[in-house]
Symmetry: C2
Subunit: 338 residues, 2 copies
């Protein structure tokens, strides 16, 4: 298993990226890492992280795509960027999956145009695995496609279900359509029509479709996969992050407010740590782009070494799961007439 890592993408590149990738290579025997980026910088970062292990190699790429580049064209105009070189290696079979903490838009465009979508899949979708009251929640799409058709949403349902089953090990994942109520007739036209098609897929035994679900119930663990357009999915994702951060800060303020509460903070230190760990995006690592021919994992822009290490493991799991094979075998179910 060989994972290609964009050593130059993200706020903490190359230092933390290289460090995290090396940690993964050391921790998992048999795992090979290819670090793509400005060779001198990557080697310096590797030296700082304790040296490059035998299982890791460096591939030189002289350019870096940054936040000022146009996401739609950056991978083309910067042909020797770490992202473009890495994606091209993935396409050419010189690795099994690609991990990058660089620009989401550039990675999505590059992934779609270099690695390419699986034939019949209309759009690639972003599907983060979020901590919830249950075993977590796959949210698909969460921002790649602001404007969606019924067919996109139906495909997201299958992509999310296959991912939850094969990469996350959830049996017969419960798929819910994000909506503003649970009755069949709820929501806008897009939701009503998608509901009908997914209901048929459920009745046909192709998906474990549980119907419409509200955001609140989804977070309570009411389903394993939430299907929605990239606009509302992104709103849900960012709201989760916002409320988590807001509540975390308020709690901190409360614990710091007096001697009594500071003593309390000491008494619950372990528990609070576990709680934070559970909600920490770094524990999960990254977000897969579903629907591409090979696994591409987007790590958080602010990823530290631990997040990158986990994103590499996630890439391994995604590559082992052979989602593309399953999607190809079932593509006939994912066509929706207009």
């Amino acid at each position: 298993m060989k994972i290609i890592v964009d050593a130059m993408g993200g706020d903490n590149a190359p230092g933390e990226i290289v460090k995290g990738a090396i940690q993964a290579a050391k921790a998992r025997p048999g795992l090979e890492i290819v670090l793509v980026g400005k060779e001198a910088e990557v080697r310096a970062a590797a030296a700082a992280a304790g040296g490059l292990p035998a299982a890791a190699t460096v591939v030189n790429a002289t350019q870096v795509i940054d936040m000022h580049d146009d996401p739609a064209t950056a991978f083309k105009t910067k042909k020797d960027s770490s992202m473009t070189v890495g994606l091209t290696m993935l396409k050419n079979g010189e690795g099994d999956a690609f991990v990058s903490a660089g620009s989401t838009g550039a990675l999505l465009s590059g992934g779609t145009l270099v690695v390419k979508r699986i034939p019949g899949i209309r759009r690639a979708a972003m599907a983060p695995h979020l901590p919830t009251a249950g075993s977590g929640l796959v949210l698909v799409d969460c921002g790649a496609n602001a404007e969606c058709t019924v067919e996109y949403l139906v495909q997201f349902a299958y992509l999310g279900s296959f991912y939850a089953e094969k990469a996350l090990g959830i049996e017969r994942p419960r798929v819910g359509l994000l909506n503003i109520g649970t009755e069949d007739s709820k929501g806008d036209t897009l939701r009503q029509e998608t509901y009908r098609v997914l209901r048929e897929a459920g009745d046909g035994g192709h998906l474990n479709f549980i119907g419409n679900i509200e955001a609140k119930e989804a977070i309570k663990g009411g389903c394993d996969v939430v299907v929605t357009d990239g606009f509302s999915g992104n709103v849900m994702l960012k709201t989760i992050e916002g409320v988590g951060s807001f509540m975390g800060k308020e709690l901190k303020k409360m614990f710091l407010s007096s001697i009594k509460t500071k003593i309390a903070a000491l008494l619950v230190k372990g528990g609070l740590g576990a709680f934070k760990e559970r909600l920490d995006p770094d524990t999960i690592g990254g977000t897969p782009f579903l629907g591409l021919r090979k696994p591409v994992i987007k790590a958080h822009g602010s990823s530290g070494a631990r997040a990158i290490e986990n994103a590499v493991y996630q890439a391994v799991t995604a590559a082992e799961a052979d989602l593309a094979g399953q999607i190809e075998a079932n593509i006939g179910l994912m066509r929706v007439g207009r």
Copy 2:
């Protein structure tokens, strides 16, 4: 000031509704309450709550709209329901505002068709005031209109801004368009076109438009009014509720996990209480329907007495603010050509 209260709406009607309304009547000299509902039941509930004060009267209504009624037609088919009678009284000037914890859909249909929209306003919107890191956030729309046009969203921006300024006392409320990024070109066509119109309104000095805003930044206190379609607004609202409830439960579990953490819980009891109070929807009371000729306030279905008491105060504030007058005076700004 006379507030009409639907004594039969909500999970805890009539007991808690009547109790909360009576509490408000007793607490605020000069405030009159009209309790609409099945007279014998309302009077019994009033007796249980310590008796009907002089400032409260009962108007009999023999029917109740419940969750099994079709929201779109219930207010018509049940002409003698507490909701229909109350809304009709409001329309006829027999009160200054109406509060109900009954069916949201029925109240919205009834409000729109009995009380009616202000001429030129295309849709009424629901605008809850949510606790955030700043002085709170008005979210408009949050579920009344799943499918929106540019004109609806532009009107929501003005409605929310006027409400925040006149009813909540926020000077020059910062209005943000909920989006999946902050650049002008972000989001779907609806967002891009709405952005353009709101930018013009901001440049013209009619609105304090601060541009696109992501859900996370809005929760951090980045703006005072968030404008969006009812679908994504509802997703945001329900996500806030879901994460709040999830984190609350996890914290509780953590505090109950050992003797040490139980002692910690005792030490932070006051602080945790204030924290919960701040996030408690009952503290705010209810959600106004903006764009109607007179104030209609929807209280949570699960409202207890305290939530109803606060919703009554909110109705007083809304009535005093004379939003309708301000909206009428500015309706010319709210027309958007197609």
